[in-house]
Subunit: 213 residues, 2 copies
Amino acid sequence: MKLYGYFRSSAAYRVRIALNLKGLAYTQAPVNLVKGEQRSGANLARHAQGLVPVLETDEGAQLTQSLAICEYLDERHPDPALLPANATGRARVRALAHVVACEIHPLNNLKVLKYLVGELGVDDDAKLAWYRHWISEGFDALEAMLTAENGTGAFCHGDTPTLADICLVPQVFNAERFECDLSTYPTIRRIAERCNDLEAFQKAAPGEQPDAG
Amino acid sequence: MKLYGYFRSSAAYRVRIALNLKGLAYTQAPVNLVKGEQRSGANLARHAQGLVPVLETDEGAQLTQSLAICEYLDERHPDPALLPANATGRARVRALAHVVACEIHPLNNLKVLKYLVGELGVDDDAKLAWYRHWISEGFDALEAMLTAENGTGAFCHGDTPTLADICLVPQVFNAERFECDLSTYPTIRRIAERCNDLEAFQKAAPGEQPDAG
């Protein structure tokens, strides 16, 4: 398989973790988001939104949207599972994943930050406050869910990594990069550290990628 | 089952469509987002983010995040299916759904619009431009995917409604409500109209809910 991504893209980072957890071989084709390569004709032909990641399967299908790709990998390569066996547990894991993927990350995307600065004339301080606001709002909820709900174990759900951890770790990476205060999120930090003990997560980290600048 | 929602919430609208497509009985418990009832202790106990929807199952589980709920319903009540049988088709349907759920809708949420006006002092015109910008960017991509890719049929994927249509229709409803120009999206409009021919979609529409104002 071939992964079109970018070392710092949260969404590509998620897919790298999933591929590594599954032990699947893949090559990487970097698309430089800072240079605008995602808007090139070649990338738009693969991804109508002009984004990354795109996973090209061995059958030649070009899959987009990181969570859709992770679910695909889990269906095609079920072992080890990224979702628990029972429907209620699966719903919990997906809900935790979606707090990151549908509530935090979409607001802190490069294209959104560019709109804030360009169209709305927001200054650097207000941009950083925006960034941190959505992380803290989302992490407040995640921390509450992870401490109050029964399913939490060594990882977000139980004692093996799931789709929820795959979303959490790149978001924690971004939060640390933008120096967000994570002192009030002991459970999030504990789980992210546990994940980062694993080679699958280590090898997926932005600094380990061939295009890391 | 019991659905905590709000008539105009896009996310609750998705869950109503899914429940109706499955032919499942449910009662509704409205949470008035304009009055701020989502921040009440009762709602926060159900949903740590202080949002809707929450689906309370007959076993007493309280499920959050609309797409996680729809996937749960599809797993527990497989007929009629909301996802195609093969993994590549499922990835495509989820990707189409996520264009709406992870790229358009999170940016146009009530809490985001409030932040723009409150913290960033954005005026009404700029707020409306923001709203329309993310819809048009997302719909440009969706229209391209729906016209260029093989899977599209009477609905977003094939000839029966899927998770992609469940996300599309509430987003089209919002676009129309904010008078976005949809003339360049003939495929999106065709599919949304086809969906709205079905009773499951009609009965889920905001104007049909008990709390419609």
